[in-house]
Symmetry: C2
Subunit: 189 residues, 2 copies
Amino acid sequence: MIQAHAVRLFVERGYDGTTVNDVAEAAGVSPMTVYRHFPTKEDLVLVDQNGPLVAERIAATPAGQPLVRRIGSALVDSARTLTAGDDRFLLARLRLMISTPALRARHLDNHYVLQQAIVDGLGDEAADPDTAFQAEAAASACLAAMHTALVRWAKDDGRTDLPDLIAKALAAAFGDNTPTGDHAERSAT
Amino acid sequence: MIQAHAVRLFVERGYDGTTVNDVAEAAGVSPMTVYRHFPTKEDLVLVDQNGPLVAERIAATPAGQPLVRRIGSALVDSARTLTAGDDRFLLARLRLMISTPALRARHLDNHYVLQQAIVDGLGDEAADPDTAFQAEAAASACLAAMHTALVRWAKDDGRTDLPDLIAKALAAAFGDNTPTGDHAERSAT
DNA sequence: CCCGACTTGTTAGTGACTACCAGTGCGATA
DNA sequence: TATCGCACTGGTAGTCACTAACAAGTCGGG
């Protein structure tokens, strides 16, 4: 609820133009309460806890396929789940994250946590360090491609289908091996 | 020179344990001067301007090859150039960047600039938005894989060959199409 | 009725960062 | 030589994110 007020104010006055005190006042609480629930101002926008969701999807993929394929399909599926509900709030947060340097940086850093969740979700094969390294490389590359899709999605104001965009980004990076699911040719041009 | 003092102090007392005033005092200048040369404290560690270098290498690759191959070989080449000189300072800065959350975030954000440099370096093919999107996806994925290699390199205290590590990360992410150059099997286990 | 856990609020800091203003060499011009 | 910019440096005061320490309320269980 505090977060809702925060995002609203950030959109209205800009991130840097809004102080934590403003957010606290708008939410009707003291600044300390805000800091207690959101350790940093950035956390008022960045509360991604879909790591477990992605890890679960990863674990559900057949282990025989190549890494980027398993990770990619899990990401596309997760995106489909997340965009099923409230596009609006997600888009507003994403736009803030992209336009504000501090938020953009922290968001990318969060990929690190997500990357570890993915590697863990891959399971058994994280035994020896060399295999773990390969998993990390594949996961980080997939996440980066997904992030490119997110930026594009925000630039299109969420009009295009996000899972489709992610699939396209993955295809562009890793070749057309990734399962793009059902994507008829769009007319984005 | 201010930067050298800063990195030294950061390594000695930790990033958060060192104030900008400490750096200024150690360098024999006023805090204001430090802020003038390095707009933020993070910039005391993060002064990467090898974007042009990478872009130049990109432009020098044959245009017929797939994107990730062109970008990958350019990154490997650039890494070879950069590690040819002073490993020590580079490694110290990298270790700071990885261990300090604020620096890690900013460093990842800098990849954004580098990504644009890569896309620009690819040249003509950035004409229509769909092609540009594919280039961005490929570039971001390659940079993420490289970053994974950088982390591993720092973890190994720079004992392994960085270009080799990057090539391995790229191979793990994109398959073995990328030119790994000369990498005999190591015994990292 | 009391006691302990949880949440919230207040106060006084630290430290990064930003105006605004002032002094200092230094080359170019008259 | 005197004067005019011009780049660099320094001081002062302030904003704001964030922290530590302590007070106070709420609430369920003995």
